[in-house]
């Protein structure tokens, strides 16, 4: 408990220190603050008792905050939220170190807000209270908006405002639903309570039609954040305009809040709604994969390309999650972490060459393998991870998501019936081909080919820090941990898969029953009973 609060609050303390302290030391203060946060969280994870035990969850009660409304400061982790919080805490110092040379003006504000951003993300993952979650979830927007609006590209204001309003509107749906659930709880029990587990127990007793609307409303809120087609248009703009570190956190941590929200709230709270809407979400996810991949193909802006690829990748993640079986759910959670690593690393790589050439246009700059061989090696590695090359981390998530979709069939031999099945997997699988196409085109232009550099001496002269042609030691030190993580998770996914499995099964606990009930309803009695008998006979 103390460690969790340390990891949440220490960055805020550091932010104060940054605000008070001298400008020169701001970056190092910020770096130290995030390191302490990461250290505290790592220490917590090291002693975490629930890695292999689904039943055992650490004590989640916390000091009461607004007792009349049942709102508490309770924080705690299950393995999934711990993994995502670790991911965010892990990326934070890397992002701060990555900003050392790129942020040269108004540095104190930048690092201060960055620290606040980090702590609110960890708060969102750690919260065991729905309102506390909402606070963390929503508060990430404030520093992110400022980071984009002050330190971003030429259209930064529009991008920041659009991101803020769009995602804020989405989360209003979520907040309203959470309040409604709290009210339902009060009707049932007589007192307000916003503990997530308590709320879950309340909602699963609600009638299916209510659950349907609860699910739909929560889904709207989280779908904006994921982002799911067609609610994604804020993302490419925000990524395009954000400074490098902002993009990294946006893609790697903030988008995960959307998928995590599905995992933590929408799916377990309203199984009846989830079961009914699974095919809708899956279709949207598949559209996102194909649509975003095709758009990636015609991008000439490296950062926009990676931004759209995030839409496609998270579409696959959502597809796996909504396959509603352990394979898919496990794959989806694994994919969340992997996408954070590989896409975050890609944004960092792109930021590194952007700092040197002040353009992200792949038509203007390219063939950098000749100028920046070390950078090129990292770029190739992370691209391959993003393509989903086996042996690297992306593959495990991808294969499990697709496999989960594949077996999410009526016959339910896996014990988890579903309505997706092979055709969904086949169409989504086209995304694998497209991913190779657009990412290799990016590599082909940016890394390989004859060297093309804009001869813009003015831009070079204006940058306060002269950078070496290839990435320097600091930048290598930033990318190396990410590279190691990508390779390690690709070769040794088992510990993490084992840790996720009980949580995934807990989340899906009510689904086989709900899906079967729905299928029985829709298929009419004779066929359904036939299905049931065949299932029974096969299980015997």
């Amino acid at each position: 408990m103390l460690l969790i609060w340390t990891s949440i609050l220490f960055p805020i303390l550091a932010a104060f220190a940054v605000a008070i302290g001298p400008t020169k030391s701001a970056k190092w203060t910020a770096f130290a603050g995030t390191l302490v946060s990461l250290g505290a969280l790592t220490l917590f994870a090291w002693n975490f008792p629930a890695w292999h035990n689904a039943e055992h969850f650490p004590n989640t009660t916390g000091p009461s905050w607004i007792p009349q409304a049942g709102i508490t400061f309770s924080v705690g982790f299950d393995t999934v939220s711990l993994l995502l919080a670790l991911l965010s805490a892990f990326l934070m110092p890397l992002c701060i170190a990555g900003s050392f040379s790129s942020i040269t003006e108004r540095t104190k504000e930048y690092y201060g807000w960055f620290l606040v951003l980090g702590s609110s993300i960890i708060l969102a993952f750690a919260a065991r209270d729905a309102i506390l979650f909402y606070i963390g979830y929503e508060f990430t927007l404030v520093p992110m908006t400022l980071i984009i609006a002050i330190y971003g590209g030429t259209e930064r204001r529009v991008a920041a405002i659009k991101m803020f309003l769009y995602t804020f509107l989405g989360s209003m749906f979520m907040l309203a639903t959470l309040l409604y659930i709290g009210w339902e709880h009060r009707l049932a029990v007589g007192a307000w309570d916003f503990d997530i587990d308590t709320l879950t127990k309340t909602t699963i007793r609600l009638p299916s039609s209510t659950q349907y609307w609860i699910f739909a409303a929560l889904m709207v809120g989280f779908a904006v954040k994921v982002p799911l087609f067609p609610l994604h248009t804020w993302l490419p703009l925000a990524h395009d305009q954000a400074p490098t570190a902002g993009s990294v956190i946006l893609a790697s941590a903030m988008l995960k809040l959307g998928t995590y929200g599905n995992y933590r709230f929408a799916l377990p709270m309203a199984p009846a709604g989830g079961a009914e809407l699974m095919s809708v979400v899956a279709v949207l996810a598949i559209i996102a994969i194909i649509y975003a991949s095709l758009i990636c193909w015609v991008q000439t802006d490296a950062k926009k390309l990676v931004a759209y690829s995030s839409v496609a990748h998270l579409g696959l993640c959502m597809l796996g999650l909504f396959a509603l079986n352990p394979v898919g759910a496990e794959g989806a959670v694994f994919y969340m972490v992997n996408h954070g690593l590989s896409t975050g690393a890609l944004f960092l790589c792109i930021g590194m060459f952007y700092e040197r050439y002040h353009t992200k246009d792949t038509d203007v700059v390219g063939g950098l393998a000749k100028r920046m061989p070390i950078w090129a090696s990292f770029m190739v590695l992370f691209t391959m991870a993003s393509i989903g090359l086996p042996g690297l981390n992306g593959f495990i998530g991808e294969v499990l998501c697709l496999g989960g979709t594949f077996i999410s069939e009526h016959d339910g031999q896996s014990g988890y019936p579903g309505v997706l099945g092979p055709w969904y997997a086949i169409v989504a699988g086209l995304g694998l081909i497209f991913a190779a196409m657009y990412l290799l085109i990016l590599l082909g232009k940016l890394v390989w080919g004859p060297l093309r550099e804009p001869h813009d001496d003015a831009a070079h002269a204006s940058s306060a820090v002269r950078l070496s042609p290839d990435i320097n030691f600091r930048e290598i030190a930033i990318l190396t941990p990410l590279a190691i993580a990508c390779i390690w998770l690709g070769l040794q996914p088992k510990p993490m898969l084992d840790a996720i499995a009980p949580c995934a099964e807990r989340m899906l606990a009510n689904y086989p029953k709900e899906v079967e009930r729905l299928m029985a309803q829709s298929a009419g009695t004779p066929l359904a009973s036939l299905n049931n008998t065949t299932n029974e006979s096969s299980s015997e």
Binding site: L294, V380, E409, I426, G444
Partner: protein, 714 residues
């Protein structure tokens, strides 16, 4: 369909885990090469490390071969492994483990053996890159060997997929090795993407297997087959082999996914020899051989494989006849020979297919390496019209004569190993009960004649005839710091390198010559067992290797044919099938060589005259034009798939920005602004305005209250 012989069941043998070193050593070597790369090592350390590691892994495979007693499964560590119930369909297991049977060993022997030899060759061939890309090259080779070993030795289909994609990566990196050349980069990209299309089929096939059998381990899948398999003609079961074969067609460059292989010749020649001729492209054959029982369940699947193989062999041979670049000729011949292997698999002789893979690996690697030596020595010259009579130059004799060996083997000259392996395939096709297979057999014989022709077209042009040569483009370029051959050739400083006399071809040294000799010898020796024991007999070494594995001939469909064949004594041209085929095969091979001799050695003018004559006649003109332009397949793909998709993507991007974001999102955002504008006149800032607004407001409130009051009275 009943299984006549069951697939031997693998036993779990953890004590054999040392075989895993064959996987680990290339990986460690790759790490070492990457370190060399990072430390910018100028010397040949990377090559030495690679050669040692590959030789050691070859040694391990040899040791495993001698220690072999029966199929074994060697667990190494748990990779992807979890379950959520006790049921058959409630787990997903893909562990890092090895499955070793004779088919594995058969493949691994030539993969690691040739890998070692080609690494030795490359240590000399690539020396021009010392300090700039030398270590990177060997890094790619090590990654390739690791992946290929994983592909072949893996104990489940996910391991196979790991290797499958890994060899794709290695191929991508190595084709694009000379990354400053856009052509090389484009070729690498094309190879990866076309392979990826096939890979989707493979991935879906794997999922389909998992969804239907609940496991992905070979041993468990084969156990399910031994129990009678799944004989249902269920839609999703019968689709499995078709999905798997899509993957195989992608990797092994068959119709419709063959166009990447000729472009892959942009890579350094050792890569073409190792990856794009001898080993990686045979992965498709391996996949089908490994999963043969699943193909036999569906005769139509095998028929599809046979047709695709037969037609690819013919198509590629026709293109190969009209190419002028030596490496491209050999590339098309690779596609064509792979077509034969698929034909063999399709008509039911997995033995013939695998045996042909083995012989082909040797002679094709040999041919590519000779082509590489020529390219190395003649400053990148590969146009067979501009090289002639190389055998007259001292120092080039080894290259010339080993190339002759390779050409004889490729053209299936009588009593070479390739002659036997090709005949094993054609015999099966010609004696089949199916008429379409017999047709494919004759097509294969026709293709064999074409093969002999285009093969010897190269040799008669390049090695025989009067001495004459022009150096390649790299001899002229002054900025040659990035190409290997030119850094060595003594001529590079000569300004007028255009005349033949100022150019001195740089003859290969011991590493290249030695490897060529070993390979030529190997090509001869591989033929020997077949030569000693009539190839159709069951006690042939290769036959035994294949028969002991899941790819055994006649586990199902083919056995039926075999038994019928033995009853009916099928005839070819009225003779005993063996004799008939030998005669026809010899005729085809020697006939092709003689035609090549006439047109390309005897009177070279007549070849040009023939071409001109063909081009003059409108009704036949399309044949040479299409052949020279590769039947326009690339162009067709471009216009049918790539262009519409690209246009569609542009439209989508436009719609995303201007409709979804512009109209929907920004439009929605305009509503509050519009509402605000509606009321803006009320707050103009003038005092009288506010006064009148206030008055109006009061009036409204009064009106509302009075309406309530009035209604209350009703």
């Amino acid at each position: 369909m009943t299984q006549l012989t069951s697939i031997p069941q693998a036993i779990i043998a953890p004590e054999l885990s040392w075989v895993g070193l064959a996987l680990l050593l290339p990986l460690l070597a790759a790490v070492a090469c990457a370190l060399c790369c990072a430390l910018r090592v100028k010397g040949k350390a990377a090559a030495i490390i690679t050669i040692l590691a590959l030789a050691a892994s070859f040694g391990i495979i040899v040791k495993a071969y001698f220690a072999y007693t029966g199929p074994v499964q060697v667990p190494i560590f748990q990779w992807i492994d979890f379950e959520w119930g006790a049921g058959q369909f409630q787990s997903f297991n893909a562990n890092c483990a090895l499955y070793i049977d004779t088919l594995t060993l058969f493949w691994m022997l030539f993969v690691t053996g040739l890998g070692t030899l080609i690494a030795i060759y490359a240590s000399e061939y690539m020396e021009g890159y010392c300090g700039s890309g030398y270590s990177r090259f060997f890094f790619g080779i090590c990654i390739f060997l690791f992946s290929m070993s994983a592909l072949v030795m893996g104990d489940n289909l996910i391991m196979l997929y790991l290797g499958w994609e890994g060899v794709g990566l290695a191929s991508y990196l190595l084709i694009g090795f000379d990354y400053a050349r856009p052509a090389a980069v484009a070729a690498g990209k094309k190879a990866f993407i076309m392979n990826r299309i096939g890979d989707l089929g493979l991935a879906l096939g794997i999922f389909m297997l998992w969804a239907n059998y609940g496991t992905l381990q070979y041993s468990e899948l084969f156990a399910a087959m031994n129990k009678g398999g799944q004989t249902s003609v269920d839609w999703d079961l019968s689709v499995i082999p078709f999905l798997l074969m899509l993957g195989a067609f992608g990797k092994s460059a068959q119709i419709p996914l063959f166009t990447w292989l000729p472009d892959a010749m942009e890579g350094p020649t050792p890569v073409s020899a190792l990856i794009h001729a001898a080993t990686m492209v045979t992965a498709g054959v391996y996949l089908i051989a490994r999963m043969y029982p699943f193909f036999e369940l569906h005769p139509e699947a095998l028929a599809t494989v046979a047709w695709v193989g037969g037609l690819t062999a013919l198509l590629a041979a026709t293109i190969g006849m009209a190419q002028y670049d030596i490496k491209r000729v050999f590339a098309y011949s690779t596609i064509s020979q792979l077509g034969y292997m698929f034909l063999g698999l399709g008509v039911g002789t997995s033995f013939g297919a695998c045996y042909h893979t083995l012989t082909h690996a040797f002679f094709k690697a040999l041919l590519f390496l000779t082509a590489g030596a020529i390219m190395h020595g003649f400053a990148g010259q590969l146009d067979l019209r501009k090289l002639s009579g190389l055998r007259h130059i001292p120092g080039w004799r080894i290259v010339s004569w080993t190339m002759l060996v390779g050409c004889l083997w490729l053209s299936a000259f009588p009593y070479t190993a390739a002659f036997f392996s090709k005949d094993a395939i054609l015999l099966q096709a010609l004696t089949s009960v199916r008429a379409d297979f017999r047709f494919l057999g004759w097509l294969g014989l026709f293709t064999a004649a074409l093969t002999a022709y285009y093969t010897f077209r190269v040799w008669f042009r390049v090695c025989a005839g009067p001495l004459h040569f022009e150096p390649g483009a790299e001899a002229h370029s002054e900025s040659h710091d990035h190409h290997a051959p030119s850094t060595h050739a003594a001529h590079t400083t000569a300004p007028a390198a255009k005349s033949d006399h100022s150019f001195h071809p740089h003859a290969p040294r011991w590493a290249i010559n030695g490897v060529l000799l070993i390979l030529a010898l190997g090509a001869v020796v591989v033929g020997v067992p077949a030569y000693n024991q009539a190839f159709a007999h069951k006690d042939n070494w290769a036959q035994q290797m294949i028969a002991g594995s899941s790819a055994m001939q006649g586990a199902g469909l083919a056995e039926d044919h075999g038994s019928q064949a033995s009853v009916e004594h099928p005839k070819v041209l009225g003779m005993d099938a063996h004799t008939g085929l030998t005669i026809v095969g010899c005729t085809a091979s020697i006939g092709g060589i003689l035609i090549a001799w006439y047109f390309h050695l005897g009177s070279r003018k007549s070849a040009d005259q023939l071409r001109a004559a063909l081009l003059r006649r409108w009704w036949i003109r399309w044949v040479p034009i299409c052949m020279e332009n590769k039947w326009y397949v690339d162009e067709i793909y471009h216009f049918c798939f790539r262009l519409p998709m690209w246009l569609g993507s542009q439209i989508l991007y436009f719609a995303d920005r201007h409709f979804l974001d512009g109209v929907m999102v920004d439009g929605l955002a305009k509503i509050p602004i519009a509402v605000g504008k509606l009321f803006r006149p009320l707050y103009g800032g003038a005092l009288q305005g506010y006064a009148s607004t206030m008055a109006g407001g009061i009036a409204l409130v009064v009106a509302w209250l009075s309406w309530i009051w009035l209604r209350g009275f009703n």
